[in-house]
């Protein structure tokens, strides 16, 4: 088929294996019936099935829910994504738009969803190399020299990550603390510390390791954390909504530090 024939075909057909609503009767969800096969499953199990096409044990779904709960549900409006929701609340914008905008903002480069994707790619690349310590350190140094960062390592604002011990305890309970990719994260941390680099793993490195151990691709892992921030976002919106309008951390004119061109006149 040439592009024009494909356009003509897809103008009338949308073949899919993802699912379909049969009006008034049922919903097919991939290979399953939504009502018959997922009546007693968690929403997280359904999400994983929807994203990956693989059915996971309820314990795995529960573990992913713990990741969402522990790692991404900070109801603090100073955090950049949550602050968007608080700003929406203070100007009385609708909650749906606040959540949508803050969720879009959560797909950030220095925090949020994108580091999970890059962290998984990075750990998978390191794991594939099967290098000894010396070669691995050389690889890390080279990466640091070229990109000035290692995905999943370091953290804006502070260097400690309070989520890690809690997360590792969850992994321990699930019997997943000593897996290949978790061991790799610990090994990288040790190598960086041994040569005096103050770069520590953040929670993303451990989450990325978990996702790789569960067999997720980077794209799947990224999709599975996109909605994880909503339990932090909504309280920030409501917090601003219950106060007087326009009162969320207002800025006075002297908060602007202007460093641009001096005052000038229009002369045309």
């Amino acid at each position: 088929m040439n592009p024009r024939e494909r356009l003509a075909y897809f103008a009338r057909h949308w073949p899919t294996d993802k699912g379909v609503w049969i009006p008034g009767r049922a919903v097919r969800y991939r290979e399953r019936s939504l009502f018959d096969d997922f009546g007693d499953r968690s929403w997280m199990a359904l999400l994983i099935y929807g994203v990956t096409g693989r059915e996971v044990p309820e314990a795995t779904a529960r573990l992913l829910e713990r990741v969402w709960l522990l790692c991404a549900s900070y109801p603090d409006p100073r955090l950049w994504n949550n602050r968007v929701a608080a700003l929406a609340g203070t100007v009385r914008a609708p909650a749906s738009l606040a959540v949508a905008a803050a969720t879009a903002v959560s797909d950030a480069e220095v925090y949020g969803a994108r580091p999970v994707h890059r962290g998984m790619q990075f750990l998978a690349e390191v794991a594939d190399r099967r290098a000894d310590d010396r070669a691995l350190l050389a690889f890390l140094r080279d990466r640091l020299r070229r990109e000035r960062a290692l995905p999943g390592f370091g953290r804006p604002v502070i260097s400690e990550d309070e989520r890690i011990p809690v997360f590792l305890a969850e992994l321990d309970r699930a019997g997943l603390e000593e897996t290949d990719h978790q061991r790799l994260v610990v090994r990288i941390r040790r190598l960086l510390a041994d040569c005096g680099l103050r770069l520590k793993p953040n929670i993303v490195a451990h989450v990325a390791a978990l996702f790789l151990d569960l067999g997720f691709t980077p794209q799947e892992g990224y999709c599975l954390v996109l909605l994880a921030f909503s339990a932090g976002i909504l309280p920030c919106y409501l917090d601003a909504l219950e106060k007087e309008e326009g009162m969320f951390l207002p800025l006075s004119c002297d908060c602007i530090r202007y460093v641009g061109k001096p005052p000038r006149e229009w002369s045309r």
Partner: protein, 271 residues
């Protein structure tokens, strides 16, 4: 200690009796409401925002023409469809524009494509062999693995559409030298290299490059300059309602995974 926002663009002097109300606002040094508002047009203001200088008249005229060309992407454009989808279900009006922004941000006809195309002009210059080499490497998956076509071109076409050519001709006349002039002269060669037609995104990218906008500024401008058409079409469909809007009732064919993959292969789709 008061935390501050550092900016080269915007300065405010407060009213004497209220530090939260500005008495005078300056953009890149110009008094916005006192001096610019009575004198400048939309395009001049946009140029000042992104370049920190007021444009020469020819540059302002080109930017205005670009804004007109982009103002309505057409009712079939995915970003406009996204806005209409929001409208027929009576979602918030801002949701219609958020939907248009999201869908208009992509690599096919979207803002990401414009940004990449602006960058490509800088990277490849006017060297047709360099463009040919890039297209080949992209086709063979050697680099830019996210891209399914050469940025600035439309893989669904064999040559530039009449409106694309008309936009290019209009822009090139306003800016005879530069990337637009080269694109006007080299269009057929470039289409042979790309294996498909030049797209409006490529034409607009050349205009943004000629205006001196970096890729990231071009991306932002392209995102919001396309919203007016989405907004107007959304309001129209809001009035008409979902019953008169396509549902594609017969289009969906749910297949078992194996049959689905086999069908896609027969259709020549990427899996």
């Amino acid at each position: 200690m008061t935390e501050t926002i550092t900016t080269r663009l915007w300065h405010e002097e407060a009213e004497e009796d209220n530090p939260f109300v500005a008495r005078r606002c300056r953009l890149a040094g110009y008094d916005v409401y006192g001096a610019l508002l009575p004198r400048v047009g939309w395009a001049e203001f946009l140029y000042l925002l992104f370049r920190e200088e007021l444009p020469e008249p020819a540059a302002a005229r080109l930017l205005e023409a670009v804004a007109v060309a982009l103002a309505h992407p057409g009712i079939r454009d995915p970003s406009v469809r996204a806005a209409m989808n929001a409208a027929v279900g009576r979602s918030h009006r801002a949701a219609a524009l958020m939907a248009a922004l999201a869908v208009g941000a992509g690599r096919l006809g979207g803002a990401a494509e414009v940004a990449r195309a602006v960058a490509l002009f800088g990277e490849l210059g006017r060297d047709l062999d360099a463009w040919r080499d890039r297209a080949r490497r992209l086709d063979e998956g050697e680099d830019e693995s996210d891209w399914e076509h050469l940025p600035g071109f439309d893989p669904r076409t064999e040559r530039a559409s009449t409106p694309v050519c008309q936009a290019l001709e209009t822009f090139a006349k306003l800016r005879p030298g530069g990337w637009l002039g080269w694109l006007w002269a080299a269009r057929l060669d470039l289409e042979a290299v790309a294996g498909c037609g030049l797209a409006l995104s490529g034409v607009v990218a050349a205009a943004f490059a000629d205006l001196g906008f970096p890729p990231e500024a071009a991306e932002m401008l392209y995102l919001f300059l396309r919203l007016p058409g989405a907004a107007a079409q959304a309001l129209e469909q809001e009035r008409l309602g979902w019953r008169r809007y396509p549902f594609f009732a017969e289009a969906l064919e749910h297949l078992p995974a194996a049959d689905y993959r086999a069908l896609l292969q027969r259709l020549g789709e990427r899996l």
